[in-house]
Amino acid sequence: MRHVIDNRVPAHPVPVIRIRRLTKSYGHGDATVHALRGPDDPETGGPAGVGLDIEQGDYVAVMGSSGSGKSTLMNILGCLDVPTSGRYLLDGIDVGHLDEQQLSLVRNRKIGFVFQSFNLIPRTTALAQVELPLAYAGVRTAERRRRAMAALSLVGLAERAGHKPNELSGGQQQRVAVARALVTAPALLLADEPTGNLDSRSTEEVLALIDGLNATGRTVVLITHEDEVARHAKRVLRLVDGQIVDDVRQAPVDGPPPFLYEAEVRA
């Protein structure tokens, strides 16, 4: 028997996110809005689409003025929306070929989402909110409770487990949302302006959580308008009119996130 042993280490491991020639447009004819367009195609003159790779463990901040297409990009990355054209490979799998059933599995297992407007479910306790993704994953009740409590403790809200959204402050609600996003231990955390509605103290708390998640190897993509927030990222993308015009690396992919690092140095 002959074994072929492949000792070659891939130069680049498969990126968590790989998008190619991705466009998203709304409307028809003259009223068409290209929310994501990329540079103009020299041959056709139309939009060539956005291309982007994000490595495992990276911490990417997406910046840009209002209406530049940040949320549009994020929703496609989170499999909440489908692109008009182009390909999106998540962990090497082409998401465009998945059916609704498989997409809901992807959203449940691979992605954690944090929204600017918290998006907690009304009239539901913090514990139940955090248990929800586990329930959809089919985790048993006792196990679910244990893991949800652990996630709530991580965000420092263990003693608020029985509170409903209308009994929590904005910062606390966002921390519940973070706990909900991390409870399934997804490889990819997507956050659309997670600190947009928070004061500076709550912002610090939420960012510390996200930094911690990245430090443990999670890939994070976060949208923000604030330079303070963007400083936490290892890489900063800048969008203008549906195009990536700027891509700056602030720290290496395989190191700790810059702020966590500085904090350690100071200590």
Binding site: L80, R107, R123, A135
Partner: protein, 403 residues
């Protein structure tokens, strides 16, 4: 476990809008209760007709004077029915269709017992064959006999109501009552038949024909001749036989000019029974419509709920809720609405059927209870599936952007 979770979410969803849920359930409740109750009323009235058919006596035919074609003919030409006619029918040798014949005179008067005076609904003079033909059975004492008729004896059989009025708890048999100035000995009391119409069939005094004629009407014509056919199958043959014999005794050649009428009570009531069936079907249709309206109420409320909770659906989908879970949640909610509504409706219908409605005692049809409940639940599923499906097939981003 997932089922329990879904049920808890559904109850929570309904509890979030208590008044709205209660009103929707009320729609289903009214639908189910009206199906059960209206069908019970229809059933009760046809039951009453059926009972009066059996109490009337099967196979009985009534011959009365008057033209069959209605009142257009001059009454002067109408020959009254006589005892002779009855005798001709009874002695008609070659008829196997006719079993027995009883001429009947009916009159009214006052009965006295001691110092108690009472006017029975009717005083009937007839032959003993009447008892079997009219399905009158003696509960206590005896019938009067052919000998009593031949001897014009002053004996009487009392209906249950009359006996109660005159004698209360006393035993009437052997006692003497005075009818129209003539003393009668009571020989028997009839079984109570129970009334279904306006007249009480138990409020009656039955005595031998010549005795009543002697005391009240005189020996003229009789009011009716009651004929019992040999069996239900021979009523038509008996009817033909009666026509033939009476045309002979009345010397009429043309059957269309007959001066008597034969009515078959049982068939008359069968016709009435089919009318009540139509009535039941109509009531059922009205009830079914109200059930349908209840179902549309569920659809309406579920559509509102879905619209209201579109954002929530979006969040759940973003967290990875599969389509089936969302579908299940809203279907459970709508089914819960219809199950609770239908359950309360069954209770309301059953309670309501204990009261008599417009003089009819409702008789619940067990199938209608199961049917109404089942249909209501099916309606909940069916009408809930449209909004639930709409919720489940929303794209997450569209649901999240909804305001």
């Amino acid at each position: 476990m997932i089922l329990w979770q879904t049920l808890r979410f559904a109850v929570g969803g309904l509890a979030a809008n208590k008044v709205r849920s209660a009103l929707t359930m009320l729609g289903v409740l009214i639908g189910v209760a009206s199906v059960i109750l209206l069908l019970a009323v229809g059933n009760g009235s046809s039951q009453a007709v059926k009972d009066s058919i059996t109490s009337l006596g099967t196979n009985s035919l009534t011959v009365s004077a008057g033209s069959a074609a209605g009142g257009s003919r001059a009454t002067s030409s109408v020959k009254k029915l006589t005892v002779a006619d009855a005798k001709a029918l009874a002695s008609d040798g070659d008829s196997s269709a006719i079993k027995s014949v009883a001429p009947v005179v009916t009159t009214s008067g006052t009965a006295l017992y001691g110092n108690i005076s009472y006017s029975p609904g009717s005083i009937v003079g007839t032959y003993p064959a009447y008892f079997e033909t009219a399905n009158q059975k003696v509960a206590h004492g005896e019938y009067f006999t052919d000998d009593d008729v031949l001897g014009s004896r002053k004996v009487a059989v009392l209906g249950a109501t009359t006996a109660k009025q005159l004698f209360d708890t006393e035993d009437p048999v052997g006692k003497k009552i005075v009818l129209g100035g003539t003393p009668f000995t009571v020989v028997g009391v009839l079984q109570a038949k129970g009334g279904s119409g306006f007249t009480d069939p138990d409020d009656v005094v039955i005595a031998p024909l010549p005795t009543v004629q002697n005391a009240f009407t005189g020996f003229g014509p009789v009011n009716q001749i009651l004929v019992q056919a040999a069996s239900a199958d021979t009523t038509t043959a008996a009817q033909a036989e009666i026509t033939r014999v009476l045309l002979g005794t009345h010397a009429i050649a043309d059957p269309s000019k007959a001066d008597f009428r034969i009515t078959n009570q049982a068939s008359l009531l069968t016709a009435r029974e089919s009318t009540t069936k139509t009535f039941t079907v109509l009531l059922g249709a009205v009830a079914a419509i109200s059930l349908l309206v209840g179902g549309i109420g569920i659809t309406n409320i579920m559509l509102v709920t879905v619209t209201e909770r579109t954002r929530e659906i979006g969040i759940r989908k973003a967290l990875g809720a599969p389509r089936a879970v969302i579908l299940g949640q809203f279907l459970t909610e709508s089914t819960l609405l219809s199950v609770i509504g239908a359950g309360l409706g069954v209770a309301a219908g059953l309670i309501g059927s204990h009261f008599s409605i417009v003089g009819i005692k409702p008789v619940v049809i067990p199938e209608s209870v199961l049917g109404a409940f089942g249909i209501a639940v099916a309606i909940g599923l069916f009408f809930g599936s449209y909004p639930a499906n709409r919720a489940a097939s929303l794209r997450p981003i569209d649901a999240l952007r909804h305001e």
